[in-house]
Amino acid sequence: MPMGVGVLYGKERLLEAMPPFQSGGEMIDIVSSEKVTFNVLPYKFEAGTPYVPGPIGLSAAIDYLKCFDEKEVHAHEDALLKYGLESLKEIPGLKVYGNPKQRSSILPFNIEGVQHYDLGILLDARGIAVRTGQHCTQPIMDALGVTGTVRASLALYNTREDIDALVNGIHRVLKLLRR
């Protein structure tokens, strides 16, 4: 499975005006002792061996998403998030962070007296994947007054059974951590 991939969208005249940020194969046109000219767009910005697996993976991911009706996917994800939010809130001492009008995909939380990393590692041992820590957002963690959070991410392939497994897993893990 390829790693993540990003897409840069830019206005052509601005990209033309910009100098290359990196040098390497394919980005040059003519090189002599006196001067150098660069290749045309987009090659000017694509020095060296391109990252081939990423875009192939992205294309496969788009094909997969196109198999589904977009509205149905949103409805499924919204219902799942709502169920997840309600289920998590029933766990004593659990706090879900943020209360946006439109919540999307993620449920960040902490449980009173429990370190996020401990919870994450023990859920992982039970086959439940969550992310823990600062999530590359240290200023937000500071504003919340926490060292990190546990974060469950939901997508179209998740089910209500997954939420139930998460909640049961948390109850089980809490027995190990609180003694």
Binding site: Q115, Y117, D118, L122, A125, L177
Partner: protein, 138 residues
């Protein structure tokens, strides 16, 4: 007990446990048994920071032997700290520096150490080894 003897006992104990839940349970238990670190020693200077958890570590050297107190905000990391305590606390700097760390791999704790920034464990070991180097020449 020597590092090797401690290692043997710990490996035997870990091998008795059937699944990861039991292993973590044992690790947490070891953490609870770790001698308490004085709050005064939990200073910024003694803090080994990771993005998932923090470890406090106060090391001193006496007669070329390394002594330390340590603690963590994570119970699992504290368990690993307790293992490090059992293996290395009070050992000579020389024994500590030549110690084989494959023990952590044998009992499956290595993934906690290899994630370099995540929990400060590998930084803690580096910290300990550096102190041992200073202790050799002390």
């Amino acid at each position: 007990m020597s590092i090797k003897e401690q290692e043997k006992t710990l490996i035997e104990n870990f091998e008795l446990l059937e699944n990861w839940e039991e292993k973590y349970d044992y690790l947490i238990e070891l953490g609870y048994e770790l001698p308490e670190m004085s709050e005064d020693l939990k200073t910024e200077q003694n803090l080994v920071k990771g993005c998932q958890s923090s470890v406090w570590f106060n090391i001193r050297c006496e007669n070329h032997k390394v002594f330390f107190e340590a603690d963590s905000d994570s119970l699992i990391v504290k368990g690993i700290v307790a293992v490090v305590d059992k293996l290395f606390n009070g050992q000579t700097a020389e024994d500590l520096l030549t110690a084989d760390l494959s023990f952590f791999e044998t009992v499956g704790l290595w993934r906690h150490l290899s994630a370099q920034r995540s929990n400060g464990v590998s930084a803690m070991l580096a910290h300990l080894k550096k102190a041992a180097t200073d202790c050799l020449t002390d």
